[in-house]
């Protein structure tokens, strides 16, 4: 489980960074989205991996080992929402840039 998650995060972030360094805006936005996925999984993993465990504590005396850490899950939710919003905003910007410069290069002009 740990290995799969670690490889997953690595693949997401690795391909994301590669795409981020590409010259086309579409590649950049996909790269940013992939990095965001990797980062979200990473936050999630920071609460330690637990399978089939509820995130919320019951009242009374409880054994913390029966539960998964709820805080990273809350953080991930926030991060997903914010990441989604900023990616959407970037998408608009990408289209504006394409419309104004007539090029989808990140510098707004084709390299010679």
């Amino acid at each position: 489980m740990e290995l799969i998650l670690a490889i997953g995060i690595g693949v997401f972030v690795g391909s994301g960074v590669w795409l981020l360094l590409r010259p086309r805006t579409y590649q950049v936005i996909i790269g940013l989205a992939l990095i965001a996925y990797g980062v979200n999984l990473f936050i999630f993993s920071m609460g330690r991996l637990q399978i089939n465990a509820a995130p919320v504590l019951a009242s009374g005396s409880v054994n913390p080992a029966d539960y998964t850490d709820p805080i990273p899950q809350a953080l991930v939710l926030t991060a997903i929402v914010i990441g989604f919003a900023t990616t959407a905003l970037f998408l608009v910007l990408l289209l504006v840039s394409r419309g104004l410069t007539g090029s989808d290069h990140v510098d707004g002009r084709e390299p010679n």
Binding site: V39, M46, L75, T78, L93, V96, S97, V106, G108
Partner: protein, 547 residues
């Protein structure tokens, strides 16, 4: 709990409510929107100045204290907190002062050149204020994203291909920075199990040796996110382009954005990795020191090399950031006090200069200007605005007044007397060369200190040379009879900011005393930590009934 404690949340709620309220109204009701926005910002300034007096002398006890506001009425570290101390109060005032100036300036013409200017502006203020007040790392991220999202909108304000191009880079860099921020925060959470800054400061010395590497990796990744914002070399290449492409009032308030990174680095490096942090004490300080010094050098070269004034100002932002980063890296109480003074003075100057540039460049003929980098963006806006009615009185001796302001800004940039830039640099140099206090023998001065001192003075020289050159080209070179039309409303904010700098040097003693107290409490965070951890929750409605 007095009303004073509830005032702590006002700097976040007020801009949020105003921004949301303004969304309801149509863009055509521009005057109304402008009025609401201006009043809200004025109210924010009043709140911020009140909070400074609270931070300096708490109302109940009469002594300085940190005001802790438990947002969900859960005690720290379980609930999230807002903490008001001297440093955050100082940043709040600085933000609202810049906001007033930028907003007043924008009312002359800029706020008409795109939709939702006032809403975005208020949301930007909300994010900034929240970042200064929050007491935990994750809310810091949220407020960071709030003001970044607003700044994405604002940097594009006025449109034009130049702005879109610079804005595209700005957005990508900040989105990548946000990912680093999250990785850093979650690594720190993974190791310590808390996100509350005060609680972190308690737990970091207890982290086991095996986990320390992870913790420091997390802190370093988090630090990179802030250094991108502050523009440290080699992470700051985006900054001059983005700032010089932004509309003048936006660039003025952006001067504050780069200081957010500085603020967080100052706070976290002293709170989390201060003298009490055990094995991690002083973590990252050499990086800040040397990185800061390289940034000063890079910025100074940029200042000398820039031909357009917008880029000059953008490069000066780097010099200012570099100076502050190096000062944080030296971790010396009186140097921190001097650096805080420098931060206030240089931020006000940069903002004033960004506003001034736009006024001065109106005089230049766009066709004749070979370096028409900024003009390209301004050109079409101006044609459109000329037909509108003038709101204020056009000043006849415009160029003389602009020239005086320009000279003032040059003196402030270079750090020459009698303005506050000199006091700031003098305070820093005194602190650097007398680390044990004046008169005490400190046994020789290290090479690093000499290099820092030299960079501080040489960057001032570079700024002076560049400003003289730009000033001669603008004010003394023949301009074919075109005097820029400047409204009082546009000139007033520039003068206001510069007069504040004069005020800083006139009241230098008082301001410096405040900065000294701020620096002392930053270097000894024990009262901050105990205030946050001991803040008690309010009795709920049920327990009131029981009485």
């Amino acid at each position: 709990m007095s009303w004073a404690n509830h005032l702590v949340i006002a700097p976040i709620l007020l801009p949020l409510a105003t921004g949301a309220f303004l969304l309801v109204f149509d863009e055509r009701r521009r005057a109304f929107k402008a009025l609401v926005s201006l009043f809200a910002t004025l109210a924010l300034l009043v709140v911020a100045t009140t909070l400074v007096t609270f931070a300096d002398t708490a109302p109940e006890t009469g002594t300085a204290a940190n005001t802790v506001y438990l947002l969900g009425n859960w005690v720290a570290p379980f609930g999230i907190v807002l903490v008001l101390d001297r440093l955050s109060a100082l940043m709040l005032v600085l933000t609202s002062v810049l906001a007033i100036a930028a907003l007043t300036f924008s009312l002359a013409r800029w706020h008409k050149s795109g939709p939702h200017f006032h809403t975005l502006f208020q949301f930007l203020l909300m994010g900034l204020n929240g970042a200064f007040l929050t007491g935990d790392l994750f809310n810091l991220f949220v407020f960071f994203e709030v003001f970044l999202a607003a700044s994405y909108g604002l940097i594009l304000h006025g449109s034009g291909s130049l702005r879109v191009k610079a804005g595209l880079h700005y957005v990508v860099i900040n989105l990548a920075g946000a990912s680093l921020f999250l990785i850093g925060v979650s690594l720190i959470y993974g190791v310590t199990g808390t996100l509350n800054m005060a609680d972190l400061a308690i737990r970091i010395p207890m982290v086991s040796a095996d986990d320390r590497m992870l913790l420091e990796a997390g802190a370093a990744i988090l630090g990179i996110a802030f250094l991108i914002k502050a523009g440290m070399w080699p992470l700051g290449f985006w900054l001059p382009t983005a700032y010089s492409a932004a509309a003048a009032p936006v660039a003025a308030i952006f001067a504050m954005l780069s200081k957010v990174g500085i603020y967080i680095l100052l706070r976290l490096s002293l709170l989390l990795f201060g003298a009490d942090a055990g094995a991690s004490a002083g973590f990252g300080e050499p990086w800040l020191l040397y990185g800061g010094m390289v940034t000063i050098a890079f910025g100074a070269i940029g200042v000398l090399a820039s031909q357009a004034m917008g880029r000059l100002a953008g490069s000066y932002v780097l010099v200012s950031s570099g100076t502050l980063l190096a000062a944080i890296g030296m971790s010396n109480v009186s140097l921190t006090a001097g650096a805080l003074f420098y931060m206030v003075s240089s931020t006000l100057t940069i903002a004033a200069f960004f506003l001034l540039i736009e006024l001065v460049e109106r005089a230049q003929d766009p066709a004749a200007d070979v370096l028409a980098v900024t003009m390209e963006a301004y050109g079409d806006d101006m044609d459109e605005e000329e037909e509108e009615d003038e709101i204020g009185v056009a000043i006849p001796a415009t160029l003389v007044i602009l020239g005086i302001c320009f000279t003032g800004a040059a003196l402030l940039f270079a750090g020459l007397p009698p303005l506050s830039g000199f006091i700031a640099k003098f305070a820093m140099l005194t602190a650097v060369f007398n680390p044990e206090g004046l008169g005490a023998s400190s046994g020789g001065i290290s090479l690093t200190t000499w290099v820092f001192g030299a960079l501080l003075i040489l960057s001032g020289l570079a700024a002076m040379i560049a400003m003289t050159r730009a000033g001669i080209r603008t004010f003394w070179a023949p301009i074919e009879g075109t005097v820029p039309r400047v409204l009082v409303m546009e000139f007033a904010p520039v003068a206001f900011l510069l007069i504040l700098c004069v005020g800083l040097s006139v009241q230098g003693g008082k301001v410096m005393a405040y900065m000294d107290a701020t620096a002392r409490s930053l270097h000894d965070p024990s009262s901050y930590i105990s205030d946050v951890m001991s803040a008690s929750s309010l009795p709920g409605p049920k327990s009131v009934e029981a009485k």
